[in-house]
C-alpha cells in the first residue's frame, strides 16, 4: 500500500493539472474566439511589436514593416499636411494657414497645437513632412484609451510621467507604447474625438455638434451613434479609403443630388452626406411624408433633424472676447471665473467666454462655397463684423439649401494700421508668449515674424464671426423640428430670404391671387347652383 500511494498521488495531480489546463484553455480559447469576431489579426502576436519602444516613431517603423504604404498614404492627406488648396477659390487653407476666432492660429504655437497632428515632432516650420516614421499610427488606431498626446510635446505622447500643466502637481502617466501597439484596431469615436471633440482648446468648444458626449451617446443625442443601438463610428459615414477621410469643412457638399449609394455599384464612393444613405426621398409613405420629401430641394436634412446643438451636457462656446484677457486676480496672478455650473467664463489667458447648451442653431442658405479671411487680407469691417469665413449660397443659385449653423462671435486682436488679422504667439514658456507674459505687442510681433507677415506694432481688437455648418447630433425623428417652428412669424427661419414660407410670409400679390381664386370658385358655385335651381323651377 505504501509503495502505491505516491503513484496514486502522482496520478491525481496529473489529472488535476490536465483538467486545469483543459478548463483554462477552454476559457482562454473562448476569449480568443470572441476576439476574432472583431479582427482577423491579433497584433500582440506579431514579433515586431513584442519589444519595448522608446518613442512613437519607433512604433511607426514597426507598423510600416507590414503596412508598407500606410505612411505615404497619410502623407497625402489634410490630416498630415494641415494644408489644402481650395480649387474653387484658389485660397491656400488648412490648419497651418487659416486664422480662426478661437485660439486664433497655429504658427509660433506649433508644439502645443500639434498635439492634434497625426505626426511626431512638428515643433516648428522645419518639420520633416517626408519622413515616414514621423506619422503617428497610434493616435488613430489606439483601442486602449490610454494613448494621449500632451500640449507642448509637438505631437509626442509622454514617454515618462509628465507634470501637466507644469507646476500644477498633476501628472500624466507615461504611455505604455508596447501595450498600445499590440492592441491597435479600427478608428473609433474615441480616437477621432480625441482631437475633434476638443477643437478650440477644450471639450465642445468649437463645433457645438461635436463633444465628448458623442463618445458613447444615447439615442436622444445621436440616433446613428447610439451606443446601445446603431453604434455608428465616425468612419461609418466618413468612409475612409487609403487613409483619406471624406468630409471637409473647406469644401463641404452642401447639396448632394445623388441617390443613395448602394454597395456593389460601379461607383462605390460614399460621400459623408445624408442622401448618400437615405436618398432624395427619405420619408416613406404618402401624405405628410410626401410633403416632407417636397422640402429636400430647399432644406438640408440637418435643419429639421438637429433641433439643437450641445445637447449632451457639454457646453459649447458661443463667443470669445480676447480683448478682456490679461486681468489678474487679487493676488496679482492669472485667474479663472466660473459660472454657477462650474464652467469657466473668464480666463486671464484668454478673456471672456459665453457658453451655451441646447443651443438653437441659426439658419442660412449654403452652397458649399467657403471663402476665408486669411493673413494679409484686408479686414472688412463694414458690417460691424469681420467674417472669418464667408459662406456662399442663395435661394436662386440652384446649389444651395437652408442649413443650420453655429455662428461663433469673437473679439480678437488685429493690426489697425495694416488692417489685417494677426497671429499671436500665445502658448509657450518663452518671454514673448502671451499666456506667460500677457503682452500683446510682443506676442503678436513674434507670431507675425514666424508667419512672415508685416506687423505695424499697434494692436487693436476687431469683432469677428465664424459660421460652422451643423451636421452631427442627429435627433430621433420624433424630436425633429416641427412644421410650425418654421412656418410661423418669428420662427426658426425668420431671417431666411428668397423663399416664400407659408405661415411666415404674407405677399400681397399672392394673397390677392388666392382670395380671387377662392372668391371666383365661390362665385362660380353660386352662379352654377342658382342656374340649376332657376332652370329646375322653370
Amino acid at each position: 500500500m505504501k509503495t502505491n500511494r505516491p503513484n496514486r498521488l502522482a496520478r491525481y495531480w496529473r489529472a488535476t493539472l490536465l483538467a486545469a489546463a483543459l478548463a483554462g484553455g477552454a476559457l482562454a480559447g473562448s476569449a480568443a474566439l470572441a476576439a476574432t469576431t472583431a479582427s482577423t489579426a491579433d497584433h500582440a502576436k506579431f514579433k515586431e511589436l513584442q519589444q519595448s519602444f522608446a518613442s512613437g516613431p519607433e512604433v511607426t517603423k514597426a507598423c510600416l514593416i507590414c503596412h508598407t504604404e500606410a505612411a505615404q498614404q497619410v502623407h497625402q492627406t489634410k490630416h498630415w499636411s494641415w494644408e489644402f488648396l481650395n480649387p474653387a477659390t484658389d485660397q491656400t487653407l488648412g490648419k497651418k494657414n487659416v486664422i480662426n476666432n478661437f485660439c486664433i492660429s497655429v504658427p509660433s504655437n506649433y508644439p502645443f497645437c500639434t498635439s492634434c497632428h497625426v505626426g511626431y515632432g512638428w515643433k516648428d516650420a522645419s518639420f520633416d513632412f517626408t519622413a515616414e516614421e514621423n506619422v503617428d499610427c497610434l493616435v488613430c488606431h489606439d483601442t486602449t484609451g490610454s494613448y494621449r498626446k500632451l500640449p507642448g510635446l509637438a505631437g509626442h505622447p509622454p514617454y515618462q510621467d509628465t507634470e501637466i500643466p507644469p507646476g500644477s502637481g498633476k501628472f500624466a502617466k507615461a504611455v505604455d507604447l508596447t501595450k498600445v501597439a499590440q492592441k491597435v484596431g479600427r478608428t473609433s469615436r474615441d480616437t477621432c474625438g480625441a482631437c475633434h471633440f476638443f477643437g478650440g482648446g477644450g471639450d465642445g468648444v468649437k463645433h457645438g455638434d461635436m463633444d465628448s458626449s458623442l463618445a458613447a451617446p444615447d439615442r436622444e443625442l445621436d440616433v446613428h451613434m447610439d451606443a446601445t443601438g446603431l453604434d455608428f463610428t465616425c468612419g461609418t459615414c466618413h468612409r475612409t479609403s487609403s487613409h483619406d477621410v471624406p468630409g471637409s469643412r473647406y469644401t463641404p457638399v452642401a447639396r448632394d443630388t445623388e441617390g443613395a449609394h448602394i454597395p456593389g455599384r460601379e461607383d462605390d464612393s460614399l460621400p459623408a452626406t445624408c442622401p448618400a444613405c437615405h436618398g432624395q426621398a427619405p420619408h416613406r409613405g404618402g401624405g405628410h411624408a410626401a410633403k416632407l420629401n417636397d422640402h429636400t430641394d430647399v432644406v438640408a436634412c440637418q435643419t429639421c433633424h438637429i433641433p439643437q446643438i450641445a445637447r449632451g451636457g457639454v457646453a459649447t462656446k458661443m463667443s470669445w472676447d480676447w480683448s478682456t484677457a490679461g486681468q489678474m486676480g487679487p493676488d496679482g496672478k492669472p485667474m479663472l471665473k466660473k459660472d454657477e455650473a462650474g464652467r469657466v467664463i473668464y480666463d486671464s489667458k484668454k478673456g471672456d467666454f459665453v457658453l451655451g447648451e441646447n443651443v438653437v442653431p441659426e439658419y442660412r442658405w449654403f452652397n458649399g462655397e467657403v471663402t476665408y479671411t486669411l493673413l494679409g487680407d484686408t479686414v472688412d469691417n463694414r458690417e460691424g463684423v469681420t467674417r472669418i469665413n464667408r459662406l456662399g449660397g442663395s435661394a436662386t443659385d440652384g446649389k444651395s439649401l437652408i442649413w443650420p449653423m453655429k455662428v461663433f462671435v469673437g473679439v480678437q486682436p488685429y493690426d489697425p494700421v495694416n488692417r489685417t488679422l494677426v497671429t499671436p504667439h500665445t502658448a509657450g514658456n518663452d518671454d514673448t508668449a502671451y499666456w506667460k507674459n500677457f503682452g500683446w505687442e510682443r506676442a503678436i510681433k513674434t507670431g507675425m515674424q514666424v508667419s512672415g507677415a508685416a506687423f505695424s506694432g499697434q494692436v487693436d481688437f476687431v469683432r469677428t464671426e465664424m459660421s460652422w455648418p451643423i451636421t452631427h447630433m442627429v435627433a430621433p425623428k420624433e424630436n425633429a423640428v416641427r412644421c410650425g417652428e418654421c412656418h410661423m412669424q418669428g420662427g426658426r427661419l425668420e431671417a431666411i430670404g428668397g423663399v416664400y414660407i407659408p405661415g411666415r410670409d404674407a405677399n400681397p400679390l399672392i394673397d390677392l391671387f388666392g382670395w380671387l381664386m377662392a372668391g371666383g370658385a365661390l362665385l362660380g358655385a353660386l352662379v352654377h347652383g342658382g342656374l340649376r335651381i332657376v332652370r329646375r323651377n322653370g
Binding site: A19, A21, L22, G24, F112, S115, G201, D203
Partner: protein, 130 residues
C-alpha cells in the same frame, strides 16, 4: 479518500481554470462605459440626483470600493447590479442591459472596473490645449 481526492482535483481544476480564464480576459472599458453610464449613472441620477462620475474617486478608491462589494452603504452587493439576473430584470426598459444581457457577470464587472479606473480622478483623462 478517493472521493475527497476527486473533489480536491475538481476544485483545483476549477480554480486553475478560472484563473487562466481571468488572465485571458481583457477588459473592454468601452463596454464598461456604456453599462456604467446607461445603467449605473442613469439609476443614480433618477434615484438620488447625485453624480457618480468615475472622476469623483481616485483609482485606489475605486479599487477598494469594488473589492468591498458594498452598494448603498453596505445594504446590498455591488456585483448584483452587473449580474445577469439584474440585467434580465431591467432589460425591457434599459437598452444597455438588453444589449449586454448575455455577457458573463465577471466580464462585465471587469469592464466596468476598467472604465472607472481609466476615468478616475488620477486616471487617464481627455487631453485639452489649456
Amino acid at each position: 479518500m478517493k472521493t475527497r481526492q476527486l473533489l480536491l482535483t475538481a476544485l483545483a481544476a476549477g480554480l486553475l481554470g478560472a484563473s487562466f480564464g481571468a488572465a485571458a480576459y481583457d477588459a473592454d472599458w468601452k463596454r464598461g462605459r456604456i453599462y456604467y453610464r446607461s445603467v449605473c449613472t442613469a439609476c443614480h441620477a433618477a434615484q438620488t440626483g447625485g453624480s457618480i462620475a468615475p472622476s469623483t474617486m481616485t483609482m485606489a478608491q475605486w479599487e477598494s470600493y469594488l473589492k468591498a462589494d458594498k452598494h448603498a452603504a453596505g445594504k446590498d452587493s455591488l456585483r448584483r447590479y452587473v449580474g445577469k439576473d439584474y440585467r434580465a430584470g431591467i432589460r425591457s426598459q434599459n437598452k444597455a442591459a438588453d444589449k449586454f444581457a448575455d455577457v458573463p457577470d465577471a466580464e462585465l464587472l471587469e469592464d466596468v472596473k476598467a472604465f472607472v479606473i481609466k476615468g478616475a480622478k488620477d486616471g487617464d483623462a481627455p487631453a485639452s490645449c489649456s
